[in-house]
């Protein structure tokens, strides 16, 4: 450590002349320079300031000394005055004098020394006042506390990882199943690949799923032309007719499907199906799909089938929250299809509504004519004591009769027409399939009953007006 006086604090007598510090004597204990360099943890070094109390005592002593000398001199001068002249020759002599002073000793370069963690000092290789080089070890601390903390933190990591695993495992299919409006849940893997038989590879989208579960989402067995899908083996695949045609293969043949893993997977064709239009996917088992797409035992897609297709958006929203995954509903994937469906159903409702209104008017006019034609009978009935309510009931029942008869006849006629429309067949769209009807026959008994009910209600309401006017008729006016 290089110590150097960088400041001097004057105290007591001012320094009268330069002194040789090394030759300093200490005749007066009051004039001791106190303090010394102290090594602090911060590494600073300075001299402590002298105490002010001792400097005051020294002042008093000096004053008293001067006064005593002066008084002695004066007494000598006045009382005994020799006329003696002393000749003093200048002599070179050394004067021993102590100068009291205090100062602060600082370093040229100061640096803060500390430790970034707490711990008991194990070893201290340097001593106070040692010169040290940059990078030298000043002290070695015992770091067992920190080590304990590390151990604790490591335990916490293990726990957190276990929790993470638990929470990121994803809900089971059975847990998703209980979401309202969910019909079926099928975990699957989906990816792209190339199918080849010999030279030419053909692009194919690959779906790996448990056949029984996949059937719940997209029926395959129903559309099979040949072979089977149920009980698909690990080395088997079900492909669509278009692909089979391109590869010129049939059930039982072997093809290779190469997916992103790059390894061609030899697969036996277990079945061929036809969607009717467009290309379909190639179906393998979940395990085969996982190994082909190289995703271990994870799945990359969960198919969810809903009961009410218009509630798909709500289900997708719930799933995306629950799974923290992207959940796409059919309506968000095909928005234009949704719009056209909505427009179609809206126009269907409009047509139904206007048909109902038009037929109500027709029925009302029929009943009005009927009331007019029966005016004489109404008059007769009233003249022999029929009450207004009785007349009203008669005409309401007549309206009801017309309504029931009309709606039953109408329903039968409607069903017949729909059935006849469903008879003309269009040429079979899928190979090996049955030709489909031009208009699919869709007879919902509930819908028919609802339409009949609506027609009956509308008719009775339409009958009410003429029935009321009949009931109010004045007998003579009616009979005239």
């Amino acid at each position: 450590m290089n110590l150097e006086t960088n400041s001097a604090v004057p105290s007591g007598k001012p320094i009268e002349k330069p002194v040789d510090v090394s030759a300093m004597e200490l005749p007066n204990p009051a004039l001791v320079v106190e303090g010394g360099g102290v090594l602090t943890a911060r590494g600073g070094a300075y001299l402590k300031k002298a105490k002010p109390k001792s400097s005051r005592v020294r002042s008093w002593l000096s004053v008293a000394l001067i006064v005593a000398v002066a008084a002695g001199g004066a007494a000598y001068w006045l009382i005994d005055r020799p006329l003696e002249v002393a000749i003093i020759r200048p002599v070179l002599t050394s004067v021993n004098e102590t100068i009291a002073s205090s100062g602060l000793v600082g370093g040229v370069k100061e640096s803060v020394i500390g430790a970034s963690f707490n711990g008991a000092v194990l070893r201290l290789p340097v001593k106070l006042g040692d010169h040290v080089q940059a990078g030298e070890t000043l002290a070695i601390l015992k770091n067992n506390i920190t080590q304990a903390q590390v151990t604790q933190a490591e335990t916490a990591i293990v726990t957190a990882q276990a929790q993470l695993k638990q929470t990121s495992r994803g809900p089971l299919a059975s847990e998703l199943q209980v979401i309202p409006n969910v019909r079926a849940v099928t975990p699957a893997v989906a990816g792209q690949g190339f199918a080849s038989k010999g030279a030419n590879p053909v692009g194919v989208s690959l779906i790996g799923a448990d056949p029984a579960q996949q059937e719940l989402i997209t029926p395959v067995t129903k559309n099979l032309i040949g072979g089977h899908y149920e009980g698909l083996a690990a080395d088997e695949v079900v492909i669509d007719y278009e692909l089979a045609k391109d590869l010129n293969v049939g059930v039982g043949d072997r093809i290779r499907i190469t997916s992103i893993s790059g390894i061609p997977e030899p697969l036996r064709i277990a079945g061929i199906y036809s969607k009717g239009q467009g290309r379909g996917s190639a179906y393998v088992t979940l395990r085969t799909g996982q190994s082909m797409l190289g995703i271990g035992n994870a799945v990359n897609v969960v198919y969810v089938k809903v009961i009410d297709i218009y509630g798909a958006d709500a289900v997708a929203e719930r799933l995306s929250v629950l799974l923290d995954c992207e959940a796409k509903s059919w309506s968000s994937e095909f928005p234009s299809f949704v719009t056209s469906l909505q427009a179609q159903s809206a126009s269907a409702y409009l047509i139904s509504g206007f048909t109902l209104i038009a037929s109500s008017f027709a029925i009302a006019s029929v009943l009005i004519v009927s009331v007019q034609r029966k005016a004489k009978q109404i008059g007769i009935l009233k003249s022999i004591g029929a009450r207004g309510n009785q007349i009203l009931l008669v005409f309401l029942f007549e309206g009801l009769g017309i309504a029931v008869a009309g709606s039953v006849t109408g329903a039968i006629a409607g069903i017949t027409v729909v059935y006849l429309l469903s008879l003309p067949k269009q040429t079979a769209v899928r190979v090996g399939g049955v030709p489909e009807s031009l208009f699919p026959l869709m007879l919902d008994p509930l819908y028919i009953l609802a339409a009949m009910g609506a027609a009956i209600v509308a008719t009775v309401l339409a009958a009410l007006l003429p029935a009321r006017s009949a009931a109010m008729m004045n007998p003579v006016d009616a009979m005239r």
Partner: protein
């Protein structure tokens, strides 16, 4: 009947009727009419004098423009629509010039209809009684025939039985014999008189037939919208 204080089944005081329209048609100018229980009254008058108008008002089929009408002691202006229906059903029976039977029903069904309307269905006794009346008027063989398969006289006799079905206090007959030949007309008239005296029902009959009119207890005439009582002598003079 004179001198016997009988209960009035019909009483009108200053009954006026004006048919409303672009040109209002005043028909009755103040009719004062009293008919006692069981009395047989005939009303004569020129065509268009207002006989049918009066009868319709008495039968509560039409409303007067002014004046009081009491049927069986009840001011009909105080009755509700349903009250009027009860009056038409149980107090008054109506026979029109045309029989006005319902074509869809048989003779017997037509005759029982007022009972059916009044209380839903007729008891076997009531049906029995109606049948006996029909037999009395010579329709024993026509019970299950429809009006369009019967003669005018047969239909009119059926209509009279229908008017009696609920045992009313008054029967109002508006030219019941008008569509019939004199023989059938006389038969129908005789029947009405019999019923009147047997069951004690007051009859008010409008007719153009002088002879039949004269056979009533009392003959009234409507002239210029006013009622005039004709004595037997006057009748004979007129005849």
């Amino acid at each position: 009947m004179i001198g016997v204080p009988a209960r009035l089944v019909i009483e009108t005081i200053s009954l006026k009727k004006t048919y409303p329209g672009k040109v209002p048609t005043p028909v009755l100018f103040g009719i004062d009419l009293r008919v006692a229980a069981g009395e047989f009254v005939s009303i004569i008058g020129q065509s268009g004098s207002g006989k049918s108008t009066l009868l319709n008002i008495l039968g509560a089929l039409d409303v007067p423009t002014e004046g009081l009408v009491k049927i069986d002691g009840v001011d009909i202006s105080t009755l509700t629509e349903d009250g009027l229906a009860v009056l038409r059903s149980q107090v008054v029976g109506f026979v029109f010039q045309a029989h006005f039977l319902l074509e869809e029903l048989t003779c017997l069904e037509n005759a029982v209809l007022p009972i059916t309307i009044r209380k839903g269905s007729a008891t076997p006794e009531e049906t029995e009684w109606i049948t006996s009346l029909l037999v009395r008027v010579g329709l024993g063989g026509q019970l299950h025939k429809y009006p369009d398969t019967m003669s005018g006289g047969e239909n009119q006799r059926c209509a009279i039985v229908r008017a009696l079905a609920n045992r009313p206090r008054i029967v109002l007959a508006d030219e019941p014999t008008g569509n019939l030949d004199s023989h059938s007309g006389e038969e129908v008239f005789r029947l009405m008189r019999q019923m009147s005296s047997e069951i004690g029902i007051a009859f008010v009959m409008v007719t153009h037939d002088e002879r039949l009119a004269r056979a009533a207890d009392r003959v009234l005439s409507i002239e210029d919208g006013l009622m005039r009582s004709l004595s037997k002598e006057e009748h004979e003079v007129m005849a």
